[in-house]
């Protein structure tokens, strides 16, 4: 299936969870905010949310310096 991650289309195996996708992309889930189809996915639900075809994700990383 195809999903869109940060504006770029990519292939993703059926049954992939958001957490798995972050792992595949080497993104640390504790340092990110994930928006799936315009809704924020709470950190504790990342491992339970299974991606569907045509899902759109935006992943942004915590930045705190000033």
């Amino acid at each position: 299936m195809k999903i869109t991650l940060n504006g770029e289309s990519r292939e993703c195996p059926e049954g992939t969870t958001v957490e798995k996708l972050l792992d595949l992309c080497k993104i640390d889930k504790n340092r990110t905010a994930v928006e799936l189809n315009l809704q924020i996915v709470p950190r504790k639900e990342l491992s339970a949310r299974v991606l569907k075809d045509a899902d759109i994700l935006e992943v942004v990383t915590f930045v705190g310096g000033g």
């Binding site: 504006g7 905010a33 315009l38 809704q39 942004v60 990383t61 930045v63 705190g64 000033g66």
Partner: protein, 270 residues
């Protein structure tokens, strides 16, 4: 103040001739009160441009003193200021740039006990803090007081900016519900930061503040601007109000300010 002096007409002439600003807009700027959290990397350029623009009153809070390692990017301060209070150094720099501006320095650290009282009389808040406890504190206080907030943050080569208009658009917690686990996100002190990066990010924040005061243009409400200086890429990500936001949604659970523990030494001059 209801009319300009001759000196002011000359000083602000390039603003006044802009139809979007004009005399009326310049007067709004001169009557505006802006509070800056931090006189460091982001606060420096932001405060410079806001003072130059003639913001009537600028409050600037920083409990740190100037360190040699700050001078690579914190342009409010000079070599002679090393060891001095950043807030006081900022006041001197800004008032010598523009005597129209009254600068109120706050040398105490912001916390749940003092922030509401300190920021309540300001129109717009600009967050240039260098640590997560302060960022959450400032967001929450702005939500409680319904104050518009320009959020900026930097790390290595990356910057993020968004403009928070409480209840009208998403707040910081809509995006990042809770602070990251302690120690997980390195500070600028630990990870480094390109000196000119906050110059860009803080200037964008100042632009947002000026537009908020003028009521002109489009602001970064509901948008997170991500700047990658290494690849010179600007990207805008739409962010939405979180229906489960712990502070600004109908299901809000946070009813009072929280003093999160300091996770690391991030507040020392990053």
């Amino acid at each position: 103040m209801s009319s300009f002096t001759e000196e002011q007409i000359e000083r602000y002439s390039r603003h006044i001739i802009l139809p979007e600003v004009g005399g009326k807009g310049q007067m709004k700027l001169l009557k505006a009160k802006v509070f800056l959290v931090g006189a460091g990397g982001l606060g420096s350029p932001a405060a410079f441009y806001l003072a130059a623009a003639g913001i009537g009153k600028i409050g600037i809070a920083d409990s740190d003193c100037v360190d040699h390692s700050n001078l690579q990017r914190q342009i409010l301060h000079s070599t002679k200021d090393v060891g001095r209070s950043k807030a006081i150094s900022a006041k001197e720099t800004l008032e010598s740039l523009n005597p129209d501006v009254e600068v109120i320095p706050y040398t105490e650290r912001l916390n749940s006990g003092n922030i509401m009282d300190i920021i309540k009389d300001y129109d717009v808040i600009l967050d240039g803090a260098d640590n997560f406890p302060t960022r959450y504190l400032v967001n929450d206080a702005c939500v409680f007081l319904r104050k518009p907030l320009s959020h900026g943050s930097i790390f290595r080569f990356e910057g993020q900016v968004t403009t928070i208009v409480p209840f009208d658009g998403p707040c910081y917690r809509c995006l990042y519900e809770t602070p990251p686990p302690p120690g997980l996100v390195p500070s600028c002190q630990e990870a480094g930061v390109l000196g000119v990066l906050p110059g860009v990010v803080g200037s964008i924040q100042a632009t947002e503040v000026v537009k908020l005061i003028l009521g002109k243009g489009q602001i970064l409400k509901g948008k997170l601007l991500i700047y990658d200086s290494l690849n010179m890429d600007f990207k805008k990500v739409k962010i939405h109000k979180n229906p489960n936001c712990p502070i600004c949604s109908d299901k809000a659970t946070i009813k009072e300010l929280i003093d999160y523990e300091e996770f690391c030494q991030a507040h020392v001059g990053s």
